[in-house]
């Protein structure tokens, strides 16, 4: 059974006045139904840009996109990058859906939420407006909004942040998509609401047997919900593996550094945080060689100054575990233990 989404060598760049912004380079991953893939990275890592390309939401006049994003539909595979935009449009909201970070601004303020959900339903289903509203009430019930039949006529500003995100989820799932991309869905929410929403997403995934891509910068959230993870930095995937491997055997200095720099509620020893020095590079003028080199504590271990001259490939260091680093597996194991932390 092929995974529902296969992304192969996807690259997105934006020509600007200051130069070519290489937002994401050579991205490859796949997601199967029932599986959650986390795309982890900080701002500027390219995580959103990549998934927007999969959805076909970039303005093709402003972005150069190459590579493939193949949806293995029942009717056959469709590459959203090269397919006709109209074909891709008809997949949006039907086979693949996306929810965004800020539910406050992601819903149209002038239309009732029932209307907005019914609009999504009516695109792909025959029926009257009343049918659409009925379906909207069903969806609102499903995502746990109390008093759905009354609230369906209300407007976005009458809902709290958590409720709005539930509405967004209801709207995204109304046509039973096979792929759900959630772009920082809980970042703007309180932590108690966050756990409600994450649980809802998990339940919905089971209900609809969806492939889920979760984009986030929160390593705690990733650990809770993901099956596999891709860590992105400066537009490239730097590490990719099953979830436990990322946390217990991180195979990239960036991941190692990140895991050791975040404070945790379950670690009360008060050790000083090991911050990663420096800043992410500019995507217009990426340095030669490895993009992480200027912040990496281990680059001297690599002979011939390779980190400064050669861009490392995404190698499979151990089975199923990929890392874009010139260090050998043995060196990485040493690096992990010297960094301390849980790694």
């Amino acid at each position: 059974m092929k995974p529902f989404l296969e992304v192969k060598n996807l690259s997105v760049s934006f020509p600007t006045q200051d130069g070519l912004v290489k937002a994401s380079n050579d991205i490859s991953f796949s997601v199967a139904r029932g599986e959650t893939l986390a795309v982890v990275g900080e701002s500027g890592s390219g995580k959103s840009v990549t998934t927007l390309a999969v959805m076909g939401l970039h303005n093709r006049n402003a972005a150069n996109i190459s590579g493939q994003a193949i949806l293995n539909l029942e009717t056959g595979p469709v590459d959203t990058i090269s397919a006709n935009p109209e074909v891709v449009r008809k997949l949006r909201g039907k086979s693949m859906a996306m929810i965004f970070q800020d539910p406050m601004s992601a819903l149209h303020p002038y239309y009732s939420i029932g209307d907005q959900i019914a609009e999504a339903w009516g695109l792909y289903n025959e029926g009257s407006k009343a049918d659409g509203l009925k379906r909207a009430v069903e969806m609102l019930d499903l995502v746990g909004i109390p008093g759905a039949s009354k609230r369906v006529k209300e407007f976005p500003h009458q809902f709290s942040g958590g409720m709005r995100q539930r509405v967004m989820i209801a709207m995204a799932l109304v046509n039973n998509p096979s792929l759900l991309i959630a772009d920082e869905p809980t970042t703007a929410l309180d932590v108690t609401v966050q756990s409600q929403i994450l649980k809802l997403l998990k339940d919905m995934q089971e209900e609809f047997n969806m492939a889920v891509i979760l984009i986030t910068h929160d390593l705690g959230v990733v650990a809770e919900v993901a099956d596999r993870a891709c860590v992105m930095y400066a537009g490239k995937i730097v590490e990719q593996s099953a979830i436990d491997d990322i946390y217990y055997m991180p195979d990239h200095p960036y991941t190692i550094g990140l895991l050791n720099s975040i404070p945790r509620v379950d670690q009360l020893e008060g050790k000083r945080l090991q911050a990663i020095p420096g800043q992410p590079p500019s995507l217009i003028s990426l340095p030669r060689g490895c993009s992480f080199r200027s912040r990496c504590t281990y680059s001297e271990l690599v002979p011939n100054n390779k980190c400064a001259t050669d861009v490392p490939n995404l190698d499979e260091k151990i089975s199923g575990h990929f890392s874009r680093c010139h260090l050998t597996e043995a060196q990485l194991v040493k690096a992990r233990s010297s960094a301390g932390g849980q790694a």
């Binding site: 900080e42 701002s43 709290s160 942040g161 958590g162 409720m163 309180d190 932590v191 108690t192 609401v193 966050q194 756990s195 409600q196 994450l198 649980k199 910068h217 929160d218 390593l219 705690g220 959230v221 990733v222 650990a223 809770e224 979830i243 436990d244 946390y247 550094g257 990140l258 895991l259 720099s261 975040i262 404070p263 945790r264 509620v265 379950d266 009360l268 008060g270 000083r272 945080l273 090991q274 911050a275 990663i276 020095p277 800043q279 992410p280 849980q342």
Partner: protein
């Protein structure tokens, strides 16, 4: 017994919400902060946590008298500053400073870094030895910025660097207390650690006391000595950091802690998660009795009627709950 640098007694800040228009009728009161007691000893960090609408940001600002308190007392360095006027507050402001959340909005985009930091000296009429310019450059270096950038504008810096500018501005006059309002929430994860470490170092070097207002429990845990948990304007629980995180006694604290995702998949899978039902009530219409009763899984009739007092249940551990959780 050291004198606390800051003491809050029954501090309240209520906002009147009016209907606007010609008659401007009172529509209701938002009880943003509804009675908090707090003490901060010199050189100590007290973390003030809670979710949106709990009143922590308002509390932080009221402490510095950016808002006038509605009720209660603020005692700073042994002096009751609650009723002081703006003019009377001015000389004290050198001793109490604030670091803001949004590194983009809290700096005037039309002023250079040098002006932004140097303004503190001008406002207080203090002339540092060697001149303002030298001191500004020294401060920039201390917070990890390149002093050669003193004539650059905020938009030429990254988010983390801008936050460092905010820190430099706050420590310029060597204050005794800094209220940090979500200082790292808007920063990238890898930069957060840098700024947190900076704040730690500065605290050691200058003996600063911090009131650290945040919603991120992980950061609060790392930096605080004691933690105060707020909900809808009231204090739910208050304890030494270790006690609070290892043995939370208030149902809300427990729920809050269980909701924080931990970067550890195995732990995450096996954890008992308490998922709170319902929505946060409106601060304009807080529930009667214990403000948490509408979402508490242990709620009983008493909770809906009687407001629980903040009582001491262990050394340095105070709680406002009729039916506390057992100690761990």
């Amino acid at each position: 017994m050291t004198e606390p640098i800051l003491k809050l007694e029954g501090l309240k800040k209520h906002f009147e919400s009016t209907s606007g228009g010609i008659f401007n009728k009172k529509k209701g009161t938002v009880k943003a902060v509804d009675g908090i007691d707090l003490e901060i000893l010199p050189g100590e960090t007290v973390g003030l946590v809670g979710e949106s609408g709990c009143g922590k940001t308002t509390a932080g600002r009221t402490v510095l008298k950016l808002y006038e308190p509605t009720e209660g007392k603020i005692i700073f360095q042994g002096q009751d500053i609650t009723k002081l006027s703006r003019r009377q507050m001015k000389p004290l402001r050198a001793q109490m400073q604030m670091i803001f959340q949004d590194p983009f909005a809290s700096l005037n985009p039309r002023q250079t870094v040098g002006t932004l930091i140097g303004a503190t000296f001008d406002i207080q009429g203090i002339k540092p030895l060697g001149g303002v310019k030298q001191e500004v450059e020294r401060l920039m270096e201390r917070v990890g910025l390149n002093p050669e950038h003193v004539n650059r504008y905020p938009h030429e810096f990254s988010g983390g660097q801008r936050q460092r500018i905010g820190v430099a501005r706050a420590i310029a006059l060597k204050p005794k207390l800094i209220v940090a309002d979500e200082p790292v929430s808007a920063l990238d994860v890898s930069i957060q650690a840098q700024v947190v470490n900076l704040l730690d170092d500065l605290q050691e070097e200058f003996g600063l006391a911090y009131l650290f207002v945040a919603h991120d429990l992980s950061v609060v845990q790392h930096i605080s000595d004691r933690v105060v948990v707020m909900y809808l304007g009231k204090v739910m629980e208050q304890a030494d950091k270790k006690d609070l995180f290892l043995s939370p006694r208030h149902p809300y604290t427990k729920a809050l802690l269980s909701a924080v995702p931990v970067p550890d998949p195995i732990k995450g899978r096996s954890r008992e998660r308490i998922i709170l039902s319902g929505d946060l009530p409106s601060p304009m219409n807080p529930p009667a009795g214990c403000v948490f009763n509408t979402r508490c899984w242990k709620v009983q009739d008493k909770c809906r009627v009687e407001v629980p007092a903040l009582l001491q249940i262990a050394p340095n551990h105070r709680l406002a709950c009729h039916f506390p959780e057992p100690a761990a």
